[in-house]
Each structure stands twice: as C-alpha cells, then as structure tokens.
C-alpha cells in the first residue's frame, strides 16, 4: 500500500523533500513509517527524528495521521491504511 510521509523545515531538508510517497506492507504502523523516513534521512535522522537511546520518536515532535495527533489514536502503534498520510511537525510557536 502507499502512504504519504510529510514533514517541514529542517526535517524536510534531511528528507530531501517535504513529501515522499512510501510503499509500505499491509499491517504497517505509524512507527514503521517513521523508521522508513529515518532511513531516507540518513545519519542525522538520529537524533533529529528518533531518540538515540531507543530509536523511538523524539518526544517534542508532533506526529499526525491524516491530520490527527497520534496521541488521540493508538500512538505509534496506530495501523496505517492505503492512502494515509503521516505528518511530522517539529515544535513551533508564536503567530
């Protein structure tokens, strides 16, 4: 299935784009998408995206599935479906 992974600012620079299409196996979770994003980001994915200790997502990042924060879903264990979109937003403020 196809999943769109999106991010912004310095994470987009690491990813090489603000948006990439990923081919994911059925049954993938949000965490699997993040791992694929990290693979594309190269060496700096840790610590920009993942924590060095356990390669879990950095706590300050906002992660959304189809626009919803994964905290109101099943967290990084949330299953993704064909056509879903995962968005990772670094902390922001102001405005």
């Amino acid at each position: 299935m196809r999943v769109t992974a999106r991010t912004i600012t310095h994470l987009a620079v690491l990813l090489g784009s603000r948006e990439v299409e990923l081919e994911m196996p059925t049954g993938s979770r949000v965490m699997d998408v993040l791992v694929r994003m990290a693979d594309l980001m190269g060496d700096q994915a840790v610590p920009a995206l993942l924590r060095p200790e356990d390669r879990s997502p950095q706590g300050h990042l906002r992660i959304m599935l189809n626009g919803r924060d994964i905290g109101v879903l099943e967290g990084i264990e949330t299953l993704v479906q064909d056509g879903d979109e995962v968005l990772v937003v670094p902390p922001a403020g102001g405005g």
Partner: protein, 624 residues
C-alpha cells in the same frame, strides 16, 4: 497595599478641557483585575455608556501596562489598549509590545485614560508628572515613523517612546491601528478612535523604576520562569531565530493557512516563498521588545525591484497571510513592502489584507463592475494593486473609501451576495488559521469578546499539538466548549492582564502558566495571588467584557462564523473535507455557554455566574 509592580497611579487625560490629573489604583482593583486588559475592560465597562458612538467624545481610550511591565521579568513590556471598537461596536482590546509599555511605568503610571476630544490636532507629552497638550498641526498627515522622529527631535530627547496614528487613523478608517515604535495595537480600529479625538500621538518619558515588594521571593519566581524558558524545546532553539514565520510551515502543512479569501486553503500554500527558509533569507536584524532575551522580532529587507530597499519589522505570520496568501501573493518582497506601508499609514495589516482579498474575489466574480476602481486590475496575485489599495484605503480615495471600514461595512454597501464573501466575525476580519481544521480555535473566533481574534483564546493544543490541559483531536467537536473557555481565561489571566508576551507563556510555561504568574505577581506586588485566583481574574474579565457586549445588544446570534466556513468543506490539504456546519457550531456553542455558566439560549452571563465572580452589580445592569 500596593508595594511593588504597580505605580499606583492612573493618569486621566481630558482632551476637551486640556486637563490631566492622577487617580489612585486601589488594592481591590489590582486584586480583582490585575492590570492591562483587566483594567481597560473594567474602566470601559464603568465609564463608556451603552450606545456611545465609538468615534464620538463619549468613547474612551485606555492604555494599561500590567504590574509586570517595566520590571525585570523577561518579556513583560506589553500593554493593552482598550476602547469601544468602531469596527465591531464591541469591546476593542488590542495588545502591543515594544518599549512604550515599560516607559509608561517608568513615568509613574499603570494606565492612561484618554477622554473627550481635542478641537484641533493635538499630541500629549508625558515626562514623569509633567503632562503637556501640544499642537499637532505640523504632524498631521505624517507617516508613523516620521511622526515619532519629529516629536523626538522637537522635544530634543530621543528617549521618548511614542504611540501615534498615521493617515489611516486621521481619516477615521475603522481598520486604523496605533503604532508605537514599529509595533502595533493593531486590530479593531483603535487608531480611528485616536483620530476621532484629534489625538495624533502620545509621547512618554519616564525616569522612575518598578519597585519589588519581596525581592527574595521575586528572584526565585523570576529564575524559575527563566529556567522554563531555557528548557523550552522551541523558544531559543528555533523561535528566537525564525520568529512567527515558522508558523507558515507548521500551519501550512496542516492545511490551515487560509488563502485567496478562504477559497484556496490547502491549495495555495507557498511555504517555499513565504515560510521559514524564505524568511531567513531576507532577515537582516532583530528588534526585541524591552527586556526580552528572545528577540523574535525580525527586520526584513526587500532586495528586488520594485520593492528593493524597503525594510519592515516583520512581516509576522499573520501579515504573511493577510498581505500574502489571502491576496494570492507569494512574493516575499511585496509582503515586506506592504507590511511597512501599513505600519507607515497606520493600517492594521490583518484587516486591511483580508479586505483587499475580499475585493479581489468580488472583482473576479464581477461583483465590483459597478464600482469605479480606476485603472486598477483587482485580481488575486496582483501585488501592485494591493499596494495601491492600501494607500487608497488610508486616504479614503475612490474605491479605498469603500474598503476603508472593513469587509462587513463594504459588503453592506456593495449589496447582493457580497456578505457571503466577507470573512469576519462581529465585523473583525478573520486571522490566518483556517479553523475548519481546528474547531476550538474556530469556536474562539465565534465567541471572543473582540470578534474573530486568534489572540484572545489561542488553541495551542490544536495549532501546535501542545497537550495541555490535554491532548485533543483538532477535528473533533466534543469538549471544545470547555477547552475554548480555558484558553480564553488562561490567556487573559496570564498574558493580557499581568502583562506578558503570549508567545513566551505558550512556549515556556504552558503547563504552569497560572502558577508562574501567581508567583511573579505575588512577590512583585505584595498582594497575594494563588494560581486559582489568577485564573479566576481571566474568567472575571471575560465575563465583564461579555457583559459590556450584551449591554450593546450582542448575544448568541452574533457568535457565528462566515457562511463559507459553515458551507464549504476544505477542498485540499491536510484538513481536506472539514468544515463547521451550523449544527456543529451550535453543538460547540451549547457546550461553551454551559462551561461558562451562561444562559444557553442567549449566551448572556447568568446572575449566579456573575455573583460568583463578584459582579453582582453587573447582573443588576443586565437585568439577569
């Protein structure tokens, strides 16, 4: 007893009589309203009678810096400017930063109340207790930066801090703002109130300082605040370097950066042209507010023709929307130039840009064909037209006169179905966040006492994912009434009253904002504030503001959103498919009024709630 924080004095300035005198700040006023917007709204409620003409001599203009302002608490040089808004007819309260708010305290005043009207152009100078009324004939017509410089030169003192209006305020545009340095008490037409009083400027110079009641406790409170600031994952690491333009990327990626008069949100998303990286490329310096170690404010320079050489303090996120995406413009230099032009003319960048985007849509739909727009090509993306319209609005020239009072008034004059395309609530033009993707933020647009105002109840849970008081689903309706109330009360209590920069509170102490304010206020002022009491001041002020509006005839019927947001789901982007139909808004309003303890049918505060807040006499006034 007021031992610190407060100067203890209010300066009342009567422009009709050219007289000024001081009045005392009572401990009771301080405890119940803290300062800033609290003082402003209390004075407005008590002194401006129902039905007063916002541009008549009965209206008042109140400048109030909070007790923290002028102290060495970081990021506290903020001030609330309060009046009856000529744009909305409701409470008009806008905050500003810079140096003026602290200088007012150094001069010895917690607040200025401006009343009456001068019979000819006047400016007022305040040098500690020396108050003078001066002839402003020679300043009338000046741009705001020239005006400020001319006053400093003529007073032979470059240390004056000046709040003034530009041509837009003189010409009573209801989109006129008040400019101090390069900052604005921007929204709700407060500059027109100043213009209606023939008051070009107020210049303040102070030589005192803000006393501290309990220096040891204050030091601990201040250190704790600074520690929270240092620990923020975003404040110094990113926000200090990028400022509010970072929100273009965040909100744009979520499909909530409104565009082309809210037709093209999620579709026209020029992050590369107007976002973080584009902003960095044109930044040439920073200009912090007094006592701010963060210095988010960026000086940006246009380098390409025809705007090369124009510099602005900004554009901030909201102006990147209003003068950018809202008008279909992605040329950063044009937005810089328009931002600077608005500051010079004394026009609110937000309302002015939204009004121009509205005209662009109407023009493209052929609805302006009967209106003489000269040789202007009024179409999305045309930045030269935007620049020309800003000038025309400030001077009420030709079609500018039609647009100078905002979209609600213009739509009424144009007639037909123009009102459908007028993006406002209660007459105040919409901020940048397309709230079809953030329901509590939308509910705040609908219910804020100033009209569609992102600053009065900012839903940082939805916009930035800050899970305080809890994590929320930005698309969900459930629980948004209670959340909106919380956001409005905490923002009022910890930012608008004490006074403090909202950016810092949201980024540094979102989980302990009331506790942080209570510790600072208690140690600084010598009055005792618990976190609960601080929070309750926010609730009291929101109720009193609501009561002012109720007295003016506002009720549930006015807590609404533009038809487009209720009828048209977003077509593209990260919030695609979402909108806020009337039944969803009604669901949230019921929830909100219930959380507030207000009458659900009318949206008016109940006697029980008002009495709980010590506002029994207000219940009598309202007859509830």
């Amino acid at each position: 007893m007021l031992q610190g924080g407060y100067t203890g004095k209010i300066l009342r300035i009567d422009l009709s009589r050219k007289e000024a005198h001081t009045e005392e700040v009572s401990a009771e006023l301080a405890k119940s309203y803290i300062g800033g917007a609290g003082f402003g709204i209390k004075m407005l409620y008590d002194e401006v009678p129902a039905g007063a003409d916002p541009l008549g001599p009965d209206n008042k203009l109140i400048f109030a810096s909070g007790p923290l302002s002028g102290s060495d608490t970081p990021c506290a040089s903020r001030m609330a400017v309060t009046s009856k808004s000529p744009l909305t007819g409701a409470v008009g309260m806008a905050t500003t930063g810079g140096f003026f708010p602290a200088e007012l305290k150094f001069a010895g005043y917690d607040a200025l109340i401006i009343e009456g009207a001068a019979d000819s152009p006047t400016y007022v100078t305040i040098n500690d207790d020396d108050v003078k009324f001066r002839d402003a004939q020679g300043l009338w017509g000046t741009h705001t930066s020239d005006c400020q410089q001319m006053i400093k030169d003529s007073l032979k003192d470059q240390g004056y801090r000046i709040a003034c209006i530009g041509p837009a305020g003189e010409n009573l545009s209801r989109l006129a703002c008040i400019i101090n340095e390069r900052r604005a008490a921007g929204r709700k037409g407060l500059g027109a109130v100043m213009g209606s009083k023939n008051l070009k400027a107020i210049a303040v110079r102070g030589h005192g300082e803000v006393a501290v009641a309990d220096p040891d406790a204050y030091k601990i409170a201040r250190s704790s605040f600074r520690e929270h600031m240092r620990e923020s994952p975003v404040l110094y690491s990113a926000f200090a370097k990028i400022g509010t333009p970072m929100v273009v990327d965040a909100v744009g990626s979520m499909g909530m950066l409104a565009a082309k008069n809210w037709q093209a949100t999620g579709e026209f998303v020029p992050i590369d042209e107007l976002g973080t990286e584009a902003g960095k490329a044109v930044t040439v310096g920073r200009n912090p507010c007094q006592g701010c170690p963060v210095a988010c404010s960026q000086l940006k320079l246009a380098r390409n023709a025809p705007y090369a050489g124009i510099m602005a303090e900004g554009p901030e996120f909201e102006s990147l929307y209003s003068l950018g995406t809202q008008c279909g413009i992605s040329n950063m230099d044009a937005v810089i130039a328009a931002d600077r032009l608005c500051d010079e003319l004394g026009l609110d960048t937000m309302s002015a840009g939204v009004t121009i985007g509205f005209a662009m849509e109407l023009s493209e739909r052929g609805a302006l064909s009967a209106i003489d727009s000269g040789d202007l090509d009024i179409a999305f993306g045309n930045d030269r037209t935007m620049m020309a319209l800003l000038e025309k609005m400030a001077y009420r020239d030709g079609i500018g006169d039609l647009l100078a009072d905002g979209v609600k008034e213009a739509a009424e004059r144009i007639g037909g179905d123009a009102a459908y395309y007028a993006m406002h609530v209660k007459g105040l033009e919409l901020p940048a966040y397309d709230v079809r993707g953030a329901k509590a933020h939308g509910l705040n647009y609908a219910t804020s006492y100033t009209g569609a105002d992102h600053n009065r109840g900012y839903a940082f849970q939805e916009i930035f994912g800050i899970p305080i008081p809890k994590e929320v689903d930005r698309f969900a309706l459930e629980g948004k009434g209670e959340l909106c109330k919380w956001n409005q009360d905490i923002r009022t209590a910890t930012c608008d009253c004490p006074t403090m920069c909202a950016f810092i509170l949201d980024m540094a102490v979102p989980a302990v904002a009331a506790e942080n304010s209570a510790a600072l206020l208690t140690s600084l002022t010598g009055l005792s504030f618990t976190a609960e009491e601080v929070f309750q001041v926010g609730e009291r002020v929101n109720n009193l503001a609501r009561a002012f509006n109720a007295r003016e005839g506002f009720s549930r019927k006015d807590d609404t959103l533009p038809d487009r947001l209720m009828n048209e789901p977003l077509l593209a982007g990260g919030s695609k498919g979402h909108h806020i139909p009337q039944e969803d808004l009604d669901f949230m309003l019921d929830d909100y009024y219930t959380a507030r303890g207000w009458d659900v049918a009318t949206g008016t505060p109940t006697r029980a709630k008002l009495e709980e807040l010590g506002l029994a006499s207000v219940a009598d006034d309202l007859g509830v």
